[in-house]
Structures are given as structure tokens and as C-alpha cells.
């Protein structure tokens, strides 16, 4: 096992350097940028070092690698030997990946620091760190560096960005499932901070909240799924789970629920329909954030999670796995893909266009992982899963979408983000527009970019899977439609930026509400281009990413050397990304589909169709849910917390009574004592008489309304209680109660003289009285019943015996010979109750005395200052009455 140090350092590096930038003076812009960029760069190097030292987990040692080559070379022979030669496991994956050693964090929760740098995690980590460096540089160009405002923005931006980068690295590298969850939530929080960047922009804050709650809710689902999975399998590490994947019980409902919960989490994070609405809304963020979080990294977390779960829930080649996997993921992804594509064409704001194409592309990636659940037979050869080179697909999207956002931010900075306003912009800002068009060409999956091959790979997967499952042809058609939409977007970008005919010219469509979204970005208004490198940084970071697109498209060998080591699945294309020449010289349904998509896309792009500003109907979901929740909460609050103490009291007491009722219903032990005790009710006639007196005096109390009579009745009730204490052989109690009662009655009479008699109208309506009497009767019976049941069991008997025994002195002590030598230590008093109070429970009595003292202090502090007033009032009342 590899040590976790390098990866741990890589995860925390961006956050640490981000925090370190806070200690630089505000004017030092260049050091700030360099320091902030050092974090992700350092992380990139550390992840590379780890991969170099310990290899990509699960991809085997060099000798296994050789075997892989051998296997690949031998495949034609194998095909010749037996037509049904089977690809049992992914050719590129030697064994389930092994995680690093763990550093104990919360071992009791199975939450420790261990990392898993397999093909998927390692690649994602490099992607996050690498694009992170570029985004740090881009932020410098985007915010500027000359003005005070820009410096303040950068001062605040880099720590938040570093926080996010660390969280994201944690998500993709964590080996413990719960650690993944922790980082997952951290990405939600940091994303919230970044979307609501402009703290004074109310709509942006609302959208940030929307994104936070949507993805946060998904995080709750993920927590449920992870907990269920860990509880069911007993494994809390991804690497362990993958090792034991074959032992899972696929028919178990628990496993299915765990998968479904985790998938909802992934779908909300990766903006799958119908939860995609938060992603276009999140475009209220500054463009560096959109380019980083909402195109290349954070929204991919859901895709990453599904990719992580794929070898766990679907065992390619073994013919087992969750049966709901292929259908659910494939179809949900396909719907998202098509909806995103069609909506994207129908937008004017560049960022919204690219946001919806991101939604569309995320749907495609999901579909890709869904298709892995289908095996297929092609050319007489059986393949385990219809998935090839998933890393290439993911890299492809990141390498054109981030540049598109970067250049969209740049052009919006100088001119406008609304496409109709950009007529002929190419001639004003050739470098920016050229970069955008090159990236847009990749969006359209034009030949020459790796995007083209990626789309071919996807089409092949659909085509092969459709061989055995005819309904997948629908997905092929949806893919063609989506691809056509992407081509149309490129065509419109091209014609508009170059000012060609068919463009989205000025005034063709009114700039309606949609440009409000563009205005939400405070950089909307035109800026003068900043000279020098600082200004160029607003588009330069897009260049290396776009360049990778064309490297992959024109020289797949180089691409495969760069990224082939991370690939996990290669069934049909097990030798790597096919070259353009290979693709063009091996025509088939997928190539025809691509051609059809391009033709349709060009036609759509030049036509007048879908040029409006479509409003996403799903945008109402979140506001409706939010206002509904808030309204419901307010209603409930007003219902329950209405400010009336009597209502609270009634609710509490009736709940108590209801609980007792349920207990009595369930437990016959609650009922049996009643009859037994009732039979012994009159064992002591004197006691029964005293009891009757207590009951009668208590019940008389509400009958009279004159206050003096009531006080006297209350007093007589107290005196009968004293008698009851006598019956119960409690002389101390009787004496104390007697004194208290006498003083109490006197006090009451004194005080009541000072208080007004309420007017007759305030005495309560008869209906109210019946209601109060009913509640009182219910609660009284309940407490009486509790008393009866408890006393029947005589719970304190043992304790009482102990106290009696140790009251004067303890039990006799004997020596070895059996001679009595003395007594154990006791309380030294003959009145057991007194001994308990002052000795065994001395601190309790101290507390009692404190309460008495506090009450006396309270009375004293309230009253003496008013003695004169009191006497005056008494005099007034006396004269009045």
C-alpha cells in the first residue's frame, strides 16, 4: 500500500496557498496571482509524483502492462480461434484498485484519511489541479489588477477558489466513502460562496441559494446511500468495495435503495433532468467560477461518482449487476442530453448557451456510463460492456467547455455576452474570437478535434448496444439531434462573430428578459482592453486547453500516451482512441450518424428556427418549492406558536396523556394494578376518610368564586394533606406542611387584598369551563394512574432499607473469628428522614436552601422599595371598598 502523504498534501495545497494570499498586501497583485497559482500547480505535481511512484492504482505493474499488450496483439488470433471469445474484464484494468494507507481521523465512524488514485480519481485530480492553475491566471485577467475594486475582488477570490479546489480534489481522491461525502458537501458550500460572489446582487444570491439547496439536498441523498451501502456490506472504502464487488447480493433491496439514493445525489450534482435548473442559474457567478466549477470540475462530480460506482454495481462480463442500472441511467442521461441541447440553441446569452450545452454533455456522459450495463455481440464476438475510453469523453468535454466559458467571459467583459450584440466581433477582438471559434468547433465535434472521435466512440457504444436492445435506436436518434444542436450553435457563433449572412444580427430578436442574466454579471458593461500580459490573461489560459483538443484529434497517439494510462474500459476500441483516418476509412452507422448530425446542424444553424429566448420551464421548480416550504413553515408556526400559554400547556398535557393512553393500550401491566389496588382501597378506613376530604376540598376550589373563600378552601385542602402525611407516618412532613400552610394562607389573604377582582365578563365562558374541566380531568386521571402503577411496584423499597440501616450506624462488623468488633460507619442520627436530608443528601439540601435564599432575595428586591406605595394602595383600596 502506498503512503497517503503526497495525496493528502495535494488535497490541502490549494486551500493553504489560497489562505496564504491573505497575508500579502493588497497592492501586490502579481505575487498574489503567483502564490494562488502555486497551490493547484503544487497539487498537480504531487499527484503526478504519487502516480509516478506508485503507479495508477488498479492498472497493474509493468509486467501486467506487457500482458495487456500481448493480449491486445493476440486478439485477432483469439478471434480466429473461437468466434465467441469473450472479453471477460476491461482489458485496461489489471485488478481492482488499492487505496493508500489510512491516517486515523474518526475510526469509530469509519471515516479516515485514505486516498485512491486509480485511473478515474487520478485523472480527475490532474484535471482539477491543472485547470485550477489556468483559472487562477484567468481570474487575474478577468477581474483586472489596476483598480482598487479589482484588488479587493482578487483578495477575496483566491482563498475561496483554493477552498473549492481542495474540496474538489478531496472528492475525487478520497477512498473512504464518508470522506468523499465530506468533501462533496464542501464543494457545495464553496460553490455557494462563489456563485453568490456579488454580495449585493439579490438575484445572484437567490440563484446561489438555489444551487446550494439543490446540490445540498442531493448530498443528503448521497449520505443515505453511502450509509446504507456501508451498513449493508460492512465496507466503508471504495477500494474495499471494489475488491468485494463480486460478493454483493444483487437481488437485495437494500443494495438497490443504496444505489438509487447515491444516484439521486450524483444526478443533482451533475445537473440531470429535472434537477438541472440550478446549473444555468449558477451562471450568475463570475466567469472564472463558471469556467471552473460549472463546466469542468464540480458538475462532473456526479459523473465521477457514477463512474466510481460502475465497477461496483455492474460487473462487466460476469453477467451480473443491478438490473436497474442500464435503463435508469441511460434514459435519464439521454433525456437530459436532448433537453439541454435543444434549450441551448434557443438562447442568446453566451453563458446560458454554454451552460445548457454543459447540461447536455453531462447527460451524454451519464448515458455513456449507463450503456456500460449492456453487453453486446459484434462480428461474432461477445463484448462485456458497451463502453470505451470513458476518460477520453470526460477530458474532451473539459477541454472545449472551459475555453468556451473563458472566452465568453472575455468577450462579455469587452463587448457583451448577448450573441446578437456580437455581430462582427471577430474583427475587433480577433484572438479571443478565434479561440472561441476553435473551441466551438470542438463543441460541434468537428473532424480534427478529439471531440469528433469521442462522439464516434459514444455512437459506437450506442450502436453496439442497440444490436441487442432495439429501443436504444431511439437514443441514437436523440444523440444525432443533440449533436445537430451543437453544430447549429457553432454555425451561429461562426456567422455572428464573422458577420456573415445568416448570423444572429442586431435587432433580429428583442433583448428581452434573458439579458437580465447577462446583467447579473457586473462585468457586463464594456471595459477597455488592458494592455500587456495582464490583459491577455483574460483569454490566454484557454489556449492550452484548446490545443489539447486538436492534439487529440490530429495525433491520437500522443493523446493516448497522455491519457491512455488512466483509461479503465476498452472493449471494442481496446487499442486506444482511433485516428481520424481510421474513423473515416471505416464507415458504418456511427459515421453516417455523425455526418447526418453535421448536415442537420448546419441547416438548423442557418435557418430561422429556434432563435428565440427559450425560458426553461424548470426554472419555476425551485422558487415554487421554496415558497411552498416557507409558506408551510409559516403556517405551521402560526398554528403552533400562537403566543397563548394556555394552548401550549394544553398541547403538552394532552400529549402526555395520549402517551400514557398508548402505553396502557400496549402494556397490560398498566391495567392490572388498578383492580388489585382498588380492592385494597378501604383497608384503612381512616386513610380513606382523609383521602375523601382531600378530594372534596380540591374539587370545591373551582366552585366558589369569592377569593377569600377560595383561599380558605385551598388552606383546608392543605390541612387535609397534612392529615394524610400523618396517616402515612411522616411526622416531619406533617409538621413542616402545617407551618407552611399557616404562613401560606396568611400570605395569600394579605396579597389577595392588594389585587383587583376581575370583572365578571373576564371570568370565562361556560364553554371554556367545560373544555378546561375536560382537559383537567384527563390529565388528573392520567397522573393518578401513573401514581398507582408506580406505587404498586414499590420502586424505592430497597433504597429506603439501606438508608434505615445506615442511619445511626452501619451493620455490625465481625473479625475473622466471628467476634463482633463494632459497626460500620453510619449517619449517627435516629430520625432517618433527618439523616437523609442533612447527611446522605446534604448537597441536595444545600441546593434547597439556596433556592429558598434566592426566592427570599427575589421577594425582597421586588418589594421593599415599594413599601410606601403598598401602604398607600392599601389605604386607597380601603377607602374605595
Amino acid at each position: 500500500m502506498a503512503p497517503p502523504g503526497l495525496l493528502l498534501l495535494a488535497v490541502v495545497a490549494p486551500a493553504l496557498t489560497g489562505l496564504a494570499t491573505l497575508f500579502l498586501p493588497r497592492v501586490a497583485v502579481t505575487p498574489r496571482v503567483l502564490l494562488a497559482a502555486a497551490g493547484p500547480a503544487f497539487a498537480f505535481v504531487l499527484v503526478l509524483s504519487h502516480l509516478g511512484a506508485y503507479g495508477v492504482a488498479g492498472h497493474g505493474e509493468p509486467d501486467t502492462h506487457g500482458a495487456r499488450i500481448h493480449h491486445t496483439a493476440a486478439s485477432p488470433t483469439a478471434a480466429a480461434e473461437g468466434l465467441d471469445a469473450h472479453h471477460p474484464a476491461p482489458v485496461r484494468l489489471a485488478s481492482p484498485p488499492a487505496g493508500t494507507d489510512s491516517i486515523a481521523w474518526v475510526p469509530d465512524l469509519d471515516l479516515n484519511l485514505a486516498f485512491l488514485a486509480d485511473g478515474l480519481g487520478g485523472f480527475f485530480a490532474l484535471l482539477v489541479a491543472g485547470i485550477g492553475v489556468l483559472i487562477v491566471l484567468y481570474a487575474r485577467g478577468y477581474f483586472g489588477g489596476a483598480t482598487d475594486q479589482a484588488r479587493a475582488d482578487l483578495y477575496r477570490f483566491y482563498p475561496t477558489l483554493g477552498f473549492f479546489a481542495s474540496a474538489m480534489l478531496g472528492v475525487v481522491l478520497a477512498d473512504y466513502t464518508l470522506l468523499t461525502l465530506v468533501f462533496w458537501e464542501l464543494t457545495s458550500i464553496s460553490s455557494f460562496l462563489l456563485i453568490g460572489w456579488n454580495r449585493y446582487d439579490k438575484p445572484a444570491l437567490k440563484l446561489a441559494k438555489q444551487a446550494f439547496f439543490t446540490t445540498g439536498l442531493g448530498g443528503m441523498f448521497l449520505l443515505g446511500g453511502i450509509g446504507l451501502l456501508g451498513h449493508h456490506t460492512g465496507h466503508w472504502r471504495w477500494s474495499e468495495l471494489l475488491h468485494h464487488a463480486a460478493e454483493l447480493d444483487w437481488a437485495a433491496g437494500t443494495l438497490r435503495c443504496a444505489f438509487l439514493l447515491m444516484f439521486v445525489g450524483a444526478a443533482s450534482k451533475s445537473a440531470q433532468w429535472p434537477l438541472h435548473f440550478w446549473l444555468p442559474g449558477a451562471m450568475a457567478a463570475p466567469t472564472p467560477v463558471s469556467a471552473y466549477l460549472h463546466s469542468a470540475t464540480m458538475v462532473k462530480a456526479g459523473v465521477f461518482l457514477v463512474g466510481r460506482m460502475l465497477p461496483l454495481f455492474v460487473l462487466p462480463g460476469e453477467g451480473v449487476g443491478l438490473t436497474i442500472w442500464p435503463g435508469l441511467i441511460t434514459w435519464l442521461g439521454a433525456v437530459t442530453m436532448l433537453y439541454g441541447g435543444v434549450t441551448a440553441v434557443n438562447q442568446h446569452d453566451l453563458k446560458r448557451i454554454f451552460a445548457y450545452t454543459t447540461v447536455s454533455q453531462l447527460g451524454l456522459l451519464m448515458t455513456m456510463y449507463g450503456l456500460a450495463g449492456f453487453g453486446f455481440v459484434y462480428g461474432g464476438k461477445a463484448y462485456a460492456a458497451a463502453i470505451d475510453l470513458d476518460i477520453t469523453q470526460i477530458a474532451n468535454h473539459a477541454f472545449y467547455k472551459a475555453p468556451l466559458f473563458i472566452t465568453a467571459g472575455a468577450i462579455g467583459h469587452y463587448l457583451s455576452r448577448s450573441l446578437p450584440d456580437l455581430h462582427g466581433a471577430f474583427y475587433k477582438f480577433p484572438a479571443i474570437c478565434a479561440t472561441m471559434l476553435l473551441a466551438g468547433y470542438a463543441l460541434a465535434a468537428g473532424p480534427g478535434t478529439v471531440s469528433f472521435q469521442a462522439k464516434e466512440l459514444f455512437l459506437y457504444a450506442v450502436y453496439h448496444a442497440a444490436d441487442g436492445h432495439p429501443w436504444l435506436w431511439i437514443i441514437l436518434a436523440m444523440t444525432v439531434a443533440t449533436a445537430a444542436c451543437n453544430v447549429a450553435i457553432f454555425v451561429r457563433l461562426l456567422t455572428t462573430l464573422l458577420g456573415l449572412p445568416g448570423s444572429m444580427g442586431k435587432g433580429k430578436a428583442d433583448d428581452g428578459h434573458q439579458d437580465h442574466h447577462a446583467d447579473a454579471d457586473d462585468h457586463h458593461h464594456a471595459h477597455e482592453p488592458e494592455p500587456g500580459l495582464g490583459g491577455a490573461l483574460i483569454w490566454l489560459p484557454a489556449v492550452p486547453l484548446v490545443a489539447l483538443q486538436y492534439v487529440g484529434g490530429l495525433a491520437p497517439g500522443v493523446w493516448d500516451r497522455l491519457f491512455g494510462g488512466f483509461e479503465r474500459f476498452g472493449y471494442y476500441f481496446d487499442h486506444g482512441v482511433p485516428s481520424l483516418l481510421y474513423a473515416l476509412t471505416h464507415p458504418g452507422v456511427p459515421l453516417y450518424a455523425s455526418g447526418l448530425a453535421i448536415v442537420l446542424g448546419v441547416l438548423l444553424g442557418l435557418s430561422g428556427l429556434l432563435r428565440g429566448q427559450h425560458t426553461d420551464v424548470h426554472d419555476v421548480i425551485y422558487p415554487a418549492v421554496e415558497s411552498g416550504t416557507v409558506g408551510l413553515g409559516r403556517g405551521l408556526f402560526e398554528l403552533l406558536q400562537n403566543g397563548s400559554l394556555r394552548v401550549y400547556l394544553t398541547v403538552v398535557l394532552l400529549t402526555l396523556t395520549a402517551c400514557l393512553g398508548v402505553a396502557a393500550w400496549q402494556d397490560p401491566g398498566m391495567v392490572a394494578p388498578v383492580a388489585a389496588e382498588a380492592a385494597r382501597a378501604f383497608e384503612l378506613p381512616l386513610g380513606a376518610m382523609v383521602g375523601a376530604l382531600v378530594v372534596v376540598t380540591a374539587l370545591l376550589l373551582p366552585v366558589f368564586s369569592s377569593r377569600i373563600v377560595r383561599v380558605l378552601i385551598l388552606g383546608s385542602c392543605g390541612f387535609t394533606v397534612v392529615a394524610m402525611y400523618v396517616v402515612y407516618r411522616a411526622p416531619d412532613l406533617a409538621l413542616t406542611q402545617l407551618m407552611v400552610e399557616i404562613i401560606g394562607v396568611l400570605l395569600f389573604v394579605l396579597v389577595l387584598r392588594l389585587l383587583p377582582e376581575p370583572p365578571a365578563s373576564e371570568r370565562g365562558r361556560p364553554v371554556g369551563r367545560v373544555w378546561r374541566a375536560a382537559v383537567g380531568a384527563a390529565v388528573g386521571l392520567a397522573l393518578g394512574w401513573i401514581t398507582l402503577v408506580c406505587a404498586h411496584a414499590e420502586p424505592a423499597a430497597l433504597l429506603g432499607e439501606w438508608f434505615s440501616q445506615y442511619s445511626y450506624h452501619g451493620p455490625a462488623l465481625y473479625d475473622a473469628a466471628g467476634e463482633k468488633v463494632g459497626y460500620a460507619r453510619g449517619g449517627g442520627g435516629k430520625n432517618v428522614v433527618n439523616v437523609i436530608l442533612v447527611d446522605f443528601r446534604g448537597f441536595d439540601t444545600l441546593g434547597e436552601i439556596s433556592v429558598l435564599g434566592l426566592a427570599a432575595l427575589g421577594v425582597w428586591s421586588m418589594l421593599p422599595g415599594r413599601r410606601r406605595e403598598l401602604s398607600r394602595d392599601t389605604a386607597t383600596e380601603a377607602t374605595l371598598s
Binding site: L684, L714, G718, V727, T787, A791
Partner: protein, 147 residues
């Protein structure tokens, strides 16, 4: 005997709840005292019946002994003595109940003085009485604020 006790508890608590739910604060205060009686009796009932088990208990002479050790200190006849622990607890409760009673009555006076009413419903709406000439009583001052 426990049954009698349970009935007493039921009566005391029932009436006290009836009073507590009323509008008049004086009634509420009485309800609190009555609730104290109910609770004390309930705890007392926990010591079991004071009647000696083997006796029919027709007269007071057949009751258990009070928890006071007699001449035969070394080996008290424990079986014939009532349980002392509930008594100790109730003794504490009586004293504290008395303290609360004094405090509550003082609060009643202060409340009446500063708001002019003791009807619960009107306390919420009633503006704090400021018509008095005494400057110290203008806004209601919590306990301890005056010295």
C-alpha cells in the same frame, strides 16, 4: 391505601390543571400550589401502603412505624417501618414549594402594579402602565433591577 392516594393525586392535579388553564392569574397561582400537593402526594404514595401487610389494618395501631429509630437501635425492625426516602424528598419539595409560593405572590403584585391587570389574555396587549407618578415604575422592571 395506594388507591386512595391515586384518587387524591388525580383530584389535586385535575383541579390544578383546570385552574392553570384559566384566565385569572390568581387562579393560576392557586393551581400551582395545588399541583405541588398533587406531586407531593404522588411521591408519598411511592413508599407503599402504610398498613402492615399481615394485618387487616382496621385501626391506626396496625400501621407501620414512623421512620424514627427507637430504643433497639442496633437492629431496627425494618420491615415494620415506612420507607423514609420519599419523605425526605417530599420534605425538600415542601420547602421549595413554599419559596416558590412567596415568589409567585410577589410577582402577582408586581404584575398587577405595572400592567394593571391579572387577566392572562390582556397581559399580551396591555401597554405597560405609565400613568403612575412614581418614576421607578414606568416600564416594568424585572426582579433584581431595583436596589
Amino acid at each position: 391505601m395506594t388507591f386512595v392516594m391515586a384518587v387524591c393525586v388525580a383530584a389535586c392535579v385535575g383541579v390544578s390543571v383546570y385552574l392553570l388553564l384559566g384566565r385569572d392569574l390568581k387562579g393560576v397561582a392557586m393551581g400551582v400550589f395545588l399541583l405541588g400537593h398533587g406531586a407531593n402526594l404522588s411521591i408519598m404514595a411511592m413508599s407503599g401502603s402504610p398498613v402492615l401487610p399481615h394485618d387487616k389494618g382496621l385501626s391506626p395501631s396496625n400501621l407501620k412505624a414512623a421512620p424514627v429509630l427507637g430504643k433497639h437501635v442496633p437492629d431496627p425492625a425494618l420491615a415494620g417501618m415506612v420507607d423514609p426516602l420519599p419523605q425526605a424528598l417530599v420534605l425538600t419539595a415542601i420547602v421549595i414549594g413554599f419559596a416558590v409560593m412567596g415568589f409567585l405572590l410577589t410577582l402577582l403584585i408586581i404584575t398587577n402594579r405595572s400592567t394593571g391587570t391579572l387577566v392572562v389574555d390582556r397581559l399580551a396587549d396591555e401597554p405597560v402602565c405609565t400613568t403612575r407618578t412614581d418614576t421607578r415604575s414606568e416600564p416594568f422592571q424585572p426582579a433584581g433591577a431595583l436596589s
